[in-house]
Amino acid sequence: MWLVIAGMAVATYLTRAPLLLALARRPLPPRLRLWLRLIPLAVLPALAVPMILVTRDAGGARLAASLGHPPLWGAVVVLALAARRVNLLVTVGVGVAVVAILRALG
C-alpha cells in the first residue's frame, strides 16, 4: 500500500514541480507572458463549467442543461453576484444555498 501511495505522490509531484522550478528563474518573452496570463482564463471555465453542465454516472456522461438542474440556477446567481463584485464568501454561500434549496424542493 505504501508503495502505491509513494508512486502516486511521485507521479503527482512530477505534474507540479518541473515547470514551477524551470520557469521561475529566467525572464520570459512577451508571447510566453501572454500565454501565462491566458491559462487561468481557459483553465477556470474548463474546471467549472463541466462540473455544472455535465453529469457523470455509471451510465456515462450526459449534458445536464435542463431548467430543472439546480447547479444551472446556482451558476446564474453566482455570475450575477460576481459581476457586481459581491464578496466571494457571500457569493459562494448564496450559490450553495440556492442549489441546496432547489434540490430539497426537487
Partner: protein, 224 residues
C-alpha cells in the same frame, strides 16, 4: 507574516467548509475501502490532490495493479502543469528549496484564488491560500478517518457546488477585455464537449492548454 498570506487565507474562507467536508468524506470512504488510518493520512499529506485520491480509493479496493493507479493519478493531475507554469514567474525571488515545497501544495482552489487577486499572481496570496486549503483538507481527513464522512451526501447540502461556484466567481473577476471573454467562453464549450467523451480531468488538460495556446498565438503580446 507578509500581508499577502493573510489575504490568501481570507480569500479562501469560502472554500474551507467544502474542502473540510470533502476531506471527511474521503477519510470515511478510504477506511471503508480497507486502507489503514495512517495510510489515508499519508496519502492526503504526500499526494494532496483530492480528485485523484477519490479515484484511487475504489481502484485500490478493487485490487487494481499499482501501475494503473499511479498512471491514472498522473493523468488526473496533469492539469497542474498549466497551473505551475502560470505561478512560476511570481516565485522568481524565492530560494529553490522553497519552490520544491511550494510545488507540492499547488491545487485548483489556491490557483484560482491567487490568479484572481493579481496578475501576475502574488506568491504570498498563493501560499496563504494553499495553507488554508491544505489545513482544511487534512483536518477533514483526520476527522473523517475515525468517524466516517460527517455528511452522508454533501451534494444534498449544495456543498459540491462550492467548487464550481468559486472557479466561476474568480474567473468573472478577470474578464476585462473582449478577448478574455472569448477565451473563457471557448474554453468552457470545449471543456464540456471533451468531458462528454473522455473520463477524468482530460477536459481541463485539453481545453485549458489548447485554448490558451491558440489564443496566445492569435492575440497580440501587447495584451499580456
Amino acid at each position: 507574516m507578509p500581508s499577502g498570506v493573510r489575504e490568501g487565507i481570507i480569500a479562501s474562507l469560502a472554500l474551507v467548509p467544502s474542502v473540510f467536508v470533502y476531506g471527511t468524506v474521503f477519510g470515511g470512504l478510504a477506511v471503508q475501502a480497507g486502507l489503514q488510518p495512517l495510510e489515508v493520512l499519508g496519502m492526503s499529506i504526500f499526494v494532496f490532490a483530492g480528485a485523484s485520491q477519490f479515484v484511487a480509493v475504489p481502484m485500490l479496493a478493487a485490487g487494481a495493479p499499482a501501475l494503473a493507479i499511479i498512471v491514472t493519478t498522473y493523468v488526473i493531475n496533469m492539469r497542474h502543469y498549466l497551473m505551475a507554469a502560470t505561478l512560476a514567474p511570481s516565485f522568481r525571488a524565492f530560494p529553490r528549496r522553497w519552490l520544491t515545497l511550494v510545488a507540492h501544495v499547488i491545487n485548483d482552489e489556491s490557483f484560482a484564488v491567487a490568479v484572481s487577486r493579481r496578475n501576475p499572481p502574488d506568491p504570498w496570496v498563493f501560499i496563504g491560500s494553499a495553507a488554508a486549503v491544505f489545513s482544511a483538507f487534512l483536518a477533514g481527513v483526520s476527522v473523517g478517518t475515525p468517524l466516517g464522512g460527517l455528511v452522508a451526501d454533501p451534494a444534498r447540502w449544495g456543498l459540491d457546488f462550492a467548487f464550481p461556484a468559486v472557479f466561476l466567481a474568480l474567473v468573472a473577476l478577470q474578464l476585462r477585455r473582449r478577448a478574455d471573454w472569448l477565451v473563457a467562453f471557448v474554453a468552457a464549450v470545449a471543456a464540456v464537449a471533451v468531458a462528454l467523451v473522455l473520463p477524468g480531468t482530460w477536459h481541463v488538460v485539453i481545453a485549458g492548454s489548447v485554448v490558451s495556446t491558440a489564443a496566445a498565438f492569435v492575440l497580440s503580446p501587447q495584451d499580456a
